[in-house]
Point group: C2
Chain length 274, copies 2
Amino acid sequence: MTRAKASTGGTRGFIVPIGGDDRRIRKAAILRRFAQLCGGSRAHIGIVSTVSEMPDAAYRYERAFRDLRIDRISLLRFGSRADCESERNLAVLDAVDGIFLLGADTSHFSDTLGNTSAAQKIHSRNAQGIHVAATSTGAAFLPEQMIAAGQSGTTPRADIVELAPGLGLIGELIIDQHYRHQDRLGRLLMALTYNPRAIGIGLDEDTAAFIGPDHRLQVVGSGGITIVDPSQLQHSAIHPDRRHAPVSMIGLHLDILVEGDLYDLAAHRATINR
Amino acid sequence: MTRAKASTGGTRGFIVPIGGDDRRIRKAAILRRFAQLCGGSRAHIGIVSTVSEMPDAAYRYERAFRDLRIDRISLLRFGSRADCESERNLAVLDAVDGIFLLGADTSHFSDTLGNTSAAQKIHSRNAQGIHVAATSTGAAFLPEQMIAAGQSGTTPRADIVELAPGLGLIGELIIDQHYRHQDRLGRLLMALTYNPRAIGIGLDEDTAAFIGPDHRLQVVGSGGITIVDPSQLQHSAIHPDRRHAPVSMIGLHLDILVEGDLYDLAAHRATINR
């Protein structure tokens, strides 16, 4: 899948990975900011689930958007690949101003949504200017590569992470989520060892990265975002026969950003917003 | 307390912080390397505890050193400040070739050992060439500043860490331990915000940093060592009234080192040992 590009005369919409925790997020500024981007009370928001039974989280987010005076909300259930080819569902994706993808077991994303007409539609609509937010594992699914599984721990090891293809809305980014509470630096570092041209983003819960069409990211929410830039990585050594052994990584650049701070993904440069 | 310096004509001994886990460490190369530094089977090793009852760990390490054919081992109990002034105990510190400090509740170190004749003796003997190893919280106590308490989490917050004075064998270093399994990056980063001239060292369990008199560190053990260099830190913002809020930190340098790798603490430069 190729990366979303602005179509002729248009501008790509925002891509908004969110670190999860749907109970706290209702109080936060993240949904408000997303709703505003999509057109405020005139917006039509599509809430997308990739599991066969619509999860409680879908109704919680629907309620939260209703509280923000969003009247037009469509709940879209992509529980099977047939759902992802349904003309009716694709017509809804064509009608919405913003797409909000819920978290699920990571295998659902590649098994159910990957390489379907729905995935292509989300892709092309984002390229045309429609905004796409995604929370929890949905956030990890947005770039070309996703962290599909992994273990906790600060130190990278070859067997600490498993990667899978993502939706491909944005390239050269690895996103991890539920970050603060689950000790995920090691698996993010290891994912970067496999993708040294990518930038790693660790999203705390109740924290979002609003990534604009200019590839500038702004932090919104109560937590922090950890940015790991491996572009200066000088050495890393993986022993194929010792996959549980820790791995050397020298020359990583690390930034911790909080609400309002900016990061330019093209220039690899952070700016504190005072 | 001033930093240990080589006395005239002498060379400071090694300083060996170890990340903890005394059950696994018996199988590891760490104690063997330390025993060799101290003179091998001719060495006289002093195992130091700062709690009033000699802990089981003392006997486990004694047994491990015995297995390495170390015949002369003294168990030193510094359970009170009086113990730390005892002529008999100080005479033992004068006799040993290596000191091995056990972990304890962090408050024991400052309350019991801090600023006593025993602390001064360990300091002066290290400056004269005697090697000092310390495991778990003992490792954190070796530099001028120690992490006395803290919470888990990857993201730094002002209230995530409490600092206390350390033994002062080495300056401008912050050591954290039991690192891999306890999600301690946030508190290490926050400790560096308070000590921006220090280098942060996160020691996995069963992993040691052998810091030579030339300020070069070598990794020994089965885990990794996380090195955080804040010397290029461009911005950090702490709100005194929002101590639980995450803190921005931009421009951190991060290295992950494994067994055999080197780090020059003076030059801030890592080298992979292939």
